[in-house]
Subunit: 318 residues, 2 copies
């Protein structure tokens, strides 16, 4: 790793982080990806419950995003999902990471070994090595256990989330803390606010490290609201929530898409009660620099375009 | 691969082939391992039935036997067996090969890719790419379906096996045929006679290629009989059965252990009704050269010692 490369730490999980890392991997940057360990759904949930490993899903996505195309077959394997029999629904990458954790006896070592095999650019750190679950209390008082129950709400209610926490109390991964301390830039998001981004900030030690770090902090506002998590959220609501779980005026840069998707693309989201996030920059903290630009993927799902997003980040960093 | 290396083809499956290949891998030989595709038990059986892949178990053992220690973590993964939850009893290596077959859509390609990843010395060829099952008819007329039912007999009878066959009719893998045609030496065994060695010979094309090949043929006699398969077999019975499924006077060399294990080691086999194979060389075909030597593993299971066996083979080859 050349010494003059800027040290970038990303904090997140899920598809948002995958998209960003896929774009960033081609730039001359020293990347550390801190990923959430709260996932308990699907293949990941079964593996963590039955085999006692830490949830592999977000780690797997980060590994694939940062892997080298020279390892194409192994990447294809990591992306493969069984669709029949005993293994139905299981991601091969998750099974791989679970077995690797079993034989190494250590989550971080398993990730480091998988990183070598996949020729991964950068480092991947789980935000915590504590086995914990995400809890949410809604404004109506109801408590929900488990990332997946918050993420895919069975609580078909419009009650917003009041607060989230981890149980048992999760200690931050010391390597994640160290990466934050040494970073030049720290990027939060994009990704599900309460289920992918904030679970990292709840690990004891992360918040303080973030506040103390001299790194410039960048927040990437989501494109769409998510039903059950961020109903009716405007851009400033995302920012305020990040500040609530860290500190006021944490952010140096707020990156936000200003390209409207077509009505046709938006229509598909009506069913899942997701809306385009409104840009209310007048409510943004005055201390942060706002970067509004086209970050939209040209077609399909309304998601960030990996290249547009990475280019925008790189322009800040250099 | 240096051109002057002797071309060795092994025909077998299971633990016997694993032991031999582990020993041979350190010698300057050009190795092709032809392995049986009749296994339908355990993890392998579930994967072939549920996911529709060819049975990965024997391929996995050959891969590990011929792999390079530089790939230690991946070898450890291949040897790992889950012992809880949904995956209980499944070998990770089998799952790996099954997923690889799914994404490549081709068993031989999956094996070649896994061979690259494990830095395997030599080539591994399934004897057939046809999905088939092994059937046995006992002397009492009873027909048994499936390698595992023959291997671990529920038919608690002393009736010997009359004949075995594959159903549907299995066409030999053309690459296996080619390896046999080009071989300098072909080694049959050690391994379960009816469930690991002969299933290869039943694939249409293998027998004729064997008979026609100018290679010297070596047979390694098993150390122990196996209840349900080779009850009361003497050494010559093994040889005669191999000849029955190929041709008279096929063999150029017969390698046989002449070191007695201790009574204590033998006692452990009484429970599974297995006996030490008696050397009745007077009944051996006169055309074959007999090599009697110490091939016994010094302790534990009564198995061939990989190094002693490989050294003996190498002395014939050079």
């Amino acid at each position: 790793m050349p010494k003059n490369q800027k040290k970038i730490v990303t904090i997140g999980g899920g598809t948002g982080t995958f998209v960003m890392l896929s774009g960033l991997r081609d730039y001359p940057l020293n990347i550390s990806a801190i990923v959430s360990m709260a996932d308990n759904g699907g293949s990941t949930g079964i593996l963590r419950e039955e085999i006692g490993v830490l949830p592999p899903g977000d780690v797997r996505r980060a590994l694939v995003a940062l892997s080298s195309q020279s390892q194409k077959i192994l990447i294809d394997l990591f992306n493969y999902r069984f669709n029949e029999g005993t293994f139905n629904g299981h991601s091969f990458g998750n099974i791989f990471l679970a077995a690797l954790e079993k034989i190494t006896g250590n989550t971080q070592k398993a990730i480091d070994e998988a990183s070598k095999m996949l020729d991964v650019k950068g480092k991947i750190f789980p935000s915590t090595l504590t086995k914990c679950h995400l809890f949410a209390q809604l404004e109506n008082g109801k408590i929900i256990k488990g990332e997946t129950n918050i993420d895919i709400p069975k609580h078909n209610t419009n009650a917003p989330i009041k607060r989230v926490w981890l149980k048992p109390r999760a200690k931050a991964n010391p390597q994640a803390i160290k990466a934050i301390q040494n970073a030049d830039f720290i990027i939060l998001g994009p990704g599900d606010l309460y289920t992918s981004i904030i679970p990292n900030l709840l690990c004891s030690g992360i918040k303080n490290a973030l506040i103390k770090s001299k790194a410039k902090k960048i927040y990437i506002v989501n494109l769409m609201t998510k039903f059950g998590e961020t109903n009716n959220f405007k851009a400033s609501d995302f920012v305020k929530t990040i500040e609530k779980y860290t500190t006021k005026n944490l952010l140096d840069f707020i990156i936000i898409n200003n390209k409207m998707p077509t009505k046709k693309r938006l229509e598909k989201y009506r069913e899942e009660k997701a809306q385009l996030v409104e840009i209310d920059e007048e409510n943004f903290p005055k201390t942060a620099q706002i970067i509004k630009t086209d970050l939209l993927r040209p077609r399909g799902f309304i998601r960030h375009d990996p290249n547009k997003l990475a280019k925008t980040i790189f322009q800040i960093v250099f």
